[in-house]
């Protein structure tokens, strides 16, 4: 089973990489860009686990390791 996890800087937390990309986009003439947030896209492949359990397990993986809840939010998408 494929699982997609999107980790992004929490609202209100400074994102220096996003700010740098925003500045660069503006200087390239993309004045319509109001904000850039840069996060991570993590793809997992799970084996030998039923779908009901899997989401809870992935949530625990995010809380314990894959995201830092102090500075990051995450969103999980189960399946392809």
């Amino acid at each position: 089973m494929k699982v997609s996890i999107y980790v992004s800087p929490k609202k209100g937390v400074l994102d220096p990489a996003g700010q740098a990309a925003l500045g660069a986009l503006k200087s390239l003439g993309f004045g319509e860009v109001a904000d850039v947030r840069i996060g991570k896209y993590i793809i997992l492949r799970l084996e030998d686990i039923d779908a009901g359990k899997a989401e809870d397990r992935v949530q625990e993986m995010c809380e314990r390791l894959l995201a830092n809840p102090i500075i990051e939010d995450y969103r999980i998408e189960m399946g392809d």
Binding site: V13, L14, D15, P16, Q19, A20, L66, N68, I70, I71
Partner: protein, 232 residues
Amino acid sequence: MRFGVVVFPGSNCEMDCHHVIDKVLREDVDYVWHQQTDVSAYDCLVLPGGFSYGDYLRCGAIARFSPVMEAVADFAAEGGLVIGICNGFQILLEAGLLPGAMLRNTSLSFICRFSSVRVENADTPWTNAARQGQVLRVPIAHGEGNYTADEATLAALAEEGRIILRYCGEDGEVTAAANPNGSVDNIAGICGEGFNVFGLMPHPERASEEILGSTDGLLIWESVMAHYRSRG
């Protein structure tokens, strides 16, 4: 006094710490491999700088699950002295032994140079040999030293005197211009609730000998030794 310098795969300041403790402070010191689970032989644990586990995912995020970290947490919970320097500070944050988190430096650059930091609380195990407000010249070397925490945490840190070091100018003034990395309130070092756990981005082990341009880092080591001896 016996120090243990914890070595993770990717640590790179452990030899500097070992050298200073052994040759300059003339205290007992061992390396403690990250697989070790017994740290009861030590009076102070040092988590050195480096790039543990390649700093993959987030700095310190993987190192915190090393077998030794459970022993470090137990040691700290019992009042044991733990200092995390640079990557060691990041590991203590990820492990929840200190509050808050690190973001990329606002400049996005890795910064390696001397910094000035002001002692904000000289009544701690780590700073008792310094004067309140003393300015220390100690090098920093990091890409992710931009400390952040939620407002409640910051208020508690300030109120309880747990902000130990702040980036400042050479005159000791804490200004935005003196902040190398964007760290909130110019924070360079903090303590946990019992003051026995200390995390800081500057490297005291790189400022403990004249030949390296500063001996201000010695104040940190001498403080913890004095604290240990006063405890008996």
